[in-house]
């Protein structure tokens, strides 16, 4: 029985697709059969971040409309046998996604996969609601910035009231926070919201804190989920987050500003 996870935020550009790519890669590398689905119909990004944009033949909408089978549309990742990507349609609109169609596709995936990750589009309208509707767990991606926090709070309210679990009176969706683009130096100067500030407002469990890292942009451009960049802070933070996601207790890193010793200051850190 698969767990359906939605990666959502409300606010755009905070790191949902980056997170979906790294989370799904991390789970696949840990041995779980994982599917990651792009729910952003019309603004398809996941295939670019995962480096499979040149292998897209059929997409999510094709499967829903019966033009292709799920097997024909799923793209197997070249880096892990456990990882499959279902890209979004670039040309159709989001009205092509119907609840029944999505339910059918998820139903088919649940039979053989351990984790199904739904990469949500930004916003709170139909696309985002469709992505979160069937979720068992939610990763709410937030930047330590006031409008992102407000929008995350909004999406939490929607998860509580408009998910299938809410509508059917089932145990609620398990929510957790992933704070991204964190800069401890700015937090210490008082320029940026701290983890504690954000948690005070959102009041949900903390999955992880991903530091601001230039490696994220490079990884995007290369088409390699940043979790694979072992030597980078962002990569390591994602690895920690994936472990916590599976229930392991891992201490949070990258929360305090690095104190540069004399040598580092002289020769660059």
């Amino acid at each position: 029985m698969a767990e359906i996870i939605v990666v959502t935020s409300g606010k755009g550009g905070v790191g949902k697709t980056t997170t979906s790519a790294s989370l799904s890669m991390g789970l696949a590398l840990a041995g779980h059969k994982t599917a990651v689905i792009d729910f952003d119909i019309g603004l398809r990004n996941l295939d670019l971040i995962m480096n499979c944009e040149r292998r897209v033949v059929f997409d999510f909408v094709n499967v829903i409309q019966g033009d292709a089978t799920l097997n024909q549309a799923l793209i197997k990742d070249k880096r892990s046998d456990n990882l499959f990507i279902l890209p979004a349609s670039q040309t159709k609109d989001k009205d092509a996604l119907s609840k029944e169609g999505v339910e059918k596709v998820l139903g088919e995936l649940t039979e053989t996969f351990d984790y199904i990750i739904c990469d949500s589009p930004a916003g709170i309208e139909q696309g985002a609601q469709m992505a979160l509707y069937f979720a068992d767990r939610a990763v709410v991606v937030t930047n330590p910035e006031v409008s992102s926090v407000r929008d995350s709070d909004r999406i939490l309210g929607i998860l509580q009231s408009k998910s299938r679990r809410a509508e059917q009176g089932l145990p609620p969706v398990k929510e957790c926070l992933l704070l991204t683009r964190y800069e401890p130096e700015r937090v210490e100067k008082g320029e940026m919201l701290s983890v504690e500030d954000v948690q005070e407002i959102l009041a949900i469990d903390l999955l992880g804190v991903i530091p601001e890292d230039q490696a994220v942009l490079s990884a995007s451009n290369e088409g390699n989920p940043v979790i694979m960049a072992d030597s980078t802070p962002a990569g390591q933070a994602y690895q920690d987050a994936v472990k916590r996601f599976q229930g392991e207790e891992v201490e949070h890193r990258f929360l305090t500003a690095e104190k540069k010793g004399l040598l580092k200051r002289m020769f660059g850190g």
């Binding site: 709170i124 407000r150 929008d151 709070d153 909004r154 939490l156 309210g157 929607i158 509580q160 009231s161 005070e200 407002i201 009041a203």
Partner: protein
């Protein structure tokens, strides 16, 4: 069967009746409708009499003229017992009573009735964009109320956590309503329609309450020492 229900808004006319005589009503109604027959054709109407009337008769007269009565306003009557009779008639006819609140709170003001309202409990955080309305109850929120959320009650409001959104107590006129919170940090507060926005509120840290006194909101620390 799949039903699809959506809100459809159209104008409803309020017919203010100053003379309780059915004959007078018939004449006046005919005259008015003749001025714009198309507009009133199957229009929904609310009857607002100044005196107790024979409601079934008035309703039938409306229907004879192809008007559709949907409600009755009872607050134009000064005599509370007559207003209650009118309300009872309206209920018997299956019509909505307008405004149910003002009718109650006027009674409350004049006769000092204390309502036997219960409590509505909310145990999860109230998130931005969510609205809670405790109708004919007091509201107790056992968690935080986020900025961008709106909580309302006919009675009092208690928040066992930070109150960062909008809170409106006594929304149907109950002036004795209070808003109490462990951490009053609201965007807007209102008691019985008298409101203040954040900018105009005094700086209060910690547990505090808001109440209405002489048409003004009073902010007080709890357990002031």
């Amino acid at each position: 069967m799949n039903l699809k229900i959506a809100a459809d808004f159209q104008s409803t006319f309020v017919i203010e009746i100053s003379d309780p005589s059915p004959n007078q009503f018939a004449q006046a109604l005919t005259k008015h409708l003749a001025q714009a027959p198309a507009m009133f054709e199957f229009a929904t109407v609310i009857l607002a009499p100044h005196d107790l009337v024979d409601l079934p008769d008035f309703i039938q007269q409306c229907r004879d003229q192809r008007l559709i009565p949907v409600g009755v306003r009872v607050d134009l009557l000064d005599d509370q017992s007559l207003a209650q009779q009118l309300a009872d008639q309206a209920q018997a006819q299956g019509l909505r009573i307008y405004p149910p609140s003002r009718h109650q709170s006027r009674a409350e003001k004049r006769h000092g009735q204390t309502e036997q309202w219960g409590f509505q409990f909310v145990t999860r955080p109230v998130r931005s964009g969510q609205t809670i309305y405790a109708q004919e109850k007091h509201l107790v929120v056992m968690s935080q109320v986020s900025a961008g959320a709106e909580i309302m009650a006919d009675g009092d409001i208690h928040v066992y956590g930070p109150l960062r959104g909008r809170a409106l107590a006594g929304v149907r006129g109950r002036e004795s309503s209070r808003i109490i919170s462990q951490n009053l940090d609201a965007e807007l507060l209102s008691v019985a329609g008298v409101y203040q926005v954040r900018d105009d509120m005094p700086q209060l840290q910690g547990a505090a309450q808001v109440r209405l006194q002489d048409e003004q909101l009073i902010f007080e620390h709890l357990n002031a020492d």
